[in-house]
């Protein structure tokens, strides 16, 4: 594909309400993940790794942390004179207000979309974590002659509002799209769509004029027979986050080498904002097993089955197990943590013990002092 002929659109707020703990103060796109990333890094890196040059990031609320993270788009090489990264907030045009649905959000950004020169458009959400070769998606889309191609994964579908489950014919064409939030087994949507930009414009304008507001029901489901909608199965690592538990489980999956290899593919780096931390330092009394550790950490205690984000400190005689500790948090001496998710800039004072369970991790909010 000619990559600069494809426009990228990322919803940074999609399914914010699914993980209220982590998104009270931020968008889904700026949720920290995997020791040094934010969720939006995966969607952005997929796009730039196949050479796309123009990406619009739709935001709705709480987007200060997102703006801080993506800035001008430099880490993704999207800070450019021509094209590059565009943030699309609500109230950006006189006729649009606050978004409450995907259709409204796209309609609110319609001027950006229509003014772009690209022929195709790829839409992505931020609660989907995968390393996807968008070139192959595009290949599949053009060789099948589809109007719309949507990426899906087979297996146990997560329970997520309005998540689509597909039935496909042998050639990949979607014959049925069920919209529910109940989960189930089968081919479930990863909400990554590719289509001609002109088609997207037409579908959105049509839906808006008919006062329709569900992208899933009113655009995909309603058009299953009228349009040629094809599925594209993602075989590699792909996870849809729908709760704090799934956030925790997916994070812990990264401790397995096969999953890391599937997500961090050689030649397809995941880019993120550079923080210029020093490398991690292991002190004399440190004991780290089966853990992911980012730059800037200083570890003097014991860490097992855990993920430490950039700039985390683990004090002497502290024991951290099965936990996720986010950026710049401070775990003091002799603290015991088990199955805890600690948000950014939190301080756990000496001697405290916090225990959740692996199927019910405790969440400690951003900036708290415990």
């Amino acid at each position: 594909m000619r990559a600069n002929n494809v426009l990228g659109i990322i919803y940074s707020n999609a399914y914010d309400s699914a993980i209220p703990e982590l998104t009270t103060l931020r968008t889904m796109g700026s949720v920290p993940f995997g020791g040094r990333y934010r969720l939006i890094d995966f969607a952005l890196s997929n796009m730039v790794n196949c050479g796309m040059q123009k990406v619009g990031v739709i935001t709705k609320s709480n987007y200060q942390s997102l703006m801080d993270h993506i800035g001008s788009g430099k880490p993704w090489d999207l800070s450019r004179k021509h094209d590059g990264m565009f943030i699309l907030p609500p109230f950006s045009q006189s006729e649009t207000g606050f978004y409450s649905s995907r259709i409204e959000a796209l309609h609110g950004s319609m001027r950006f979309i229509t003014r772009s020169d690209e022929e195709y458009v790829i839409l992505c959400d931020c609660n989907v974590i995968c390393t996807l070769d968008l070139d192959s998606l595009f290949e599949a889309h053009s060789s099948s002659g589809a109007d719309i191609t949507v990426a899906y994964k087979s297996g146990k579908a997560p329970e997520l509002e309005d998540l689509m489950l597909f039935k496909t014919a042998e050639d990949g064409r979607i014959t049925e799209a069920a919209v529910s939030g109940e989960g189930g087994e089968g081919a479930y949507s990863l909400n990554i769509f590719i289509m001609r930009k002109a088609l997207l414009e037409r579908l959105i304008n049509e839906a808006v004029s008919l006062h329709m507001d569900s992208f899933e029901r009113d655009i995909i489901q309603r058009n299953v027979s009228a349009l040629k909608i094809y599925g594209y199965e993602v075989k590699g690592f792909a996870r849809v986050l729908n709760s704090l538990q799934s956030y925790y489980d997916t994070s812990m999956e990264l401790l397995m080498p096969d999953n890391r290899r599937a997500l961090f593919v050689a030649g397809r780096p995941v880019y993120t904002k550079v923080r210029d931390d020093m490398p991690a330092i292991y002190g004399l009394g440190s004991n780290v097993k089966n853990s992911l550790v980012a730059d800037g950490c200083i570890i003097d205690g014991e860490v097992e089955n855990s993920i430490l984000f950039r700039g985390v400190r683990i004090g002497k005689d502290a024991v951290v197990k099965n936990s996720i500790v986010m950026q710049e948090s401070f775990v003091s001496d002799s603290v015991r943590l088990d199955s805890v998710v600690i948000d950014k800039n939190t301080v756990i004072t000496p001697g405290k013990t916090l225990c959740g369970a692996e199927n019910y991790p405790i969440y400690i909010g951003k900036g708290l002092i415990i």
């Binding site: 020791g35 995941v270 490398p279 780290v288 980012a294 730059d295």
Partner: protein, 402 residues
């Protein structure tokens, strides 16, 4: 040029660093990796931006390819700018012919036009191969306060090491009264750090005079500054008491890396108010497995550790397999150390492979004669074969299979 900066920096980065042997075979000394994710030149470059100097000329000559690539447009240091920013200055052809940079002063002399374009009041002359954190703005304030023509940063070194340095004698006001270059019996322990602040108008004149003097070796320390002193210009020493290291030799490079693991050493790279910037690889966090033991070490992103690591510095994307052991060593990016291999008291350069059961380096404790002991070096891209043993002090520059 919309506005003239008060001070610009000229960074001498053309040095070969021949005493670093195979480590500088294909790269200039300032590009030598240091401290898990840095290169030596990150230190003076970061010092510049942290000190508010945003116009930096980097003078390259020896093997500049990788260094030029690394500096690029200066973005990692915030030196990609409309006004100023970083400029790579290589020797170029002139109507009078082409000359390489003959020496430090000559390199600046050949770039007088570059400096004149910015017409700064002051020029800092820095070396691209020292590890230190220093606020040049304080040095500039001192230079102005003393109404100096040239200010030289000065470090008090242990007396036993003083004979390796260019030494200075000062009076009470800090004015320099005499110089002594690497004397056998030192009478001063005040060493020059190779960091100079000049008033540009003065330096400009002395550069021209120095160039016109056929007897001059065109070196700042040997020729230009002593000449200024003889002519009665105002020379002052600026005292500095932080960490400073010239990583000129294999031993000092090894030591300077391991200094980062010593809490008593005054070089804090985690200080957010004085960050050292570098070009980062986009690698995931490093992973330490259940079989691994990591103690008292520095580990960068992208590493995969299944073996034992003690008192070592691992750069990005290093793999230590299960049963391998690395101690008292520096392992540069992309190197793989396979199971059962031992790496000790060594520097292993980029993308090397240490095959199973190879033994690289030796601990000084087991040596009969300590004179035979030294740090072992494995060059970049070298493969050390199964069961091969590499002796202390050796430098391995080609693949060794058995």
């Amino acid at each position: 040029m919309s506005r003239s900066p008060e001070c610009i920096a000229m960074l001498l980065a053309g040095g070969q660093g021949s005493r670093l042997g195979i480590l500088t075979k294909n790269i200039a000394k300032p590009a030598v990796p240091y401290g898990g994710k840095y290169r030596i030149i990150d230190f003076p470059l970061s010092n510049c931006v942290n000190s508010g100097i945003y116009t930096v000329g980097v003078l390259t000559q020896y093997q500049p390819l990788e260094l030029n690539d690394y500096i690029g447009n200066g973005q990692p240091w915030d030196l990609d700018r409309e006004n100023g920013g970083v400029h790579i200055l290589s020797p170029y052809q002139q109507i009078s012919g082409t000359t390489w940079y003959k020496n430090t002063a000559n390199a600046i002399y050949q770039n007088i036009n570059f400096i004149d374009r910015y017409s700064p009041q002051y020029v800092a002359i820095l070396s691209g191969d020292h590890i230190y954190k220093m606020d040049y703005s304080k040095m500039l304030a001192y230079h102005k306060e003393k109404q100096a023509d040239c200010t030289i940063a000065m470090l008090e070194v242990p007396w036993e090491e003083a004979s390796r340095f260019g030494l200075m004698f000062t009076d009470k006001s800090g004015a320099i009264t005499a110089f002594e270059e690497k004397p056998k019996v030192p009478k001063s322990n005040k060493a020059s750090m190779g960091v100079y602040m000049f008033t540009w108008a003065k330096l400009r004149q002395h550069l021209i005079d120095d160039e016109n003097n056929p007897d001059s070796g065109n070196d700042f320390g040997h020729d230009l500054i002593p000449a200024m002193h003889r002519l009665g210009e105002r020379l002052f020493a600026y005292p500095f008491d932080g960490y400073w290291k010239d990583v000129g030799t294999i031993d000092s490079l090894w030591e300077a890396n391991l200094d980062l693991l010593n809490p008593k050493v005054n070089l804090d790279l985690s200080d957010n108010s004085w960050k050292i910037y570098s070009r980062s690889p986009a690698a995931p966090p490093h992973y330490v497995s259940g079989d691994a033991t990591v103690q008292n070490s520095m580990v960068a992103e992208g590493c995969q550790i299944d073996g034992e690591v003690d008192f070592s510095v691992l750069f990005s994307n290093v793999t230590i397999e299960k049963g391998a052991m690395v101690r008292d060593s520096i392992v540069m990016p992309g190197t793989v150390i396979k199971s059962g291999a031992v790496v000790q008291y060594s520097i292993v350069a980029e993308n090397a492979v240490i095959e199973p059961k190879a033994i690289v380096g030796e601990r000084p404790e087991v040596m009969k004669n300590l004179d035979d002991w030294g740090v072992t070096v494995v060059g970049s891209g070298v493969t050390i074969g199964n069961n091969v043993r590499i002796k202390p002090k050796q430098m391995v520059d080609q693949n060794m299979f058995f």
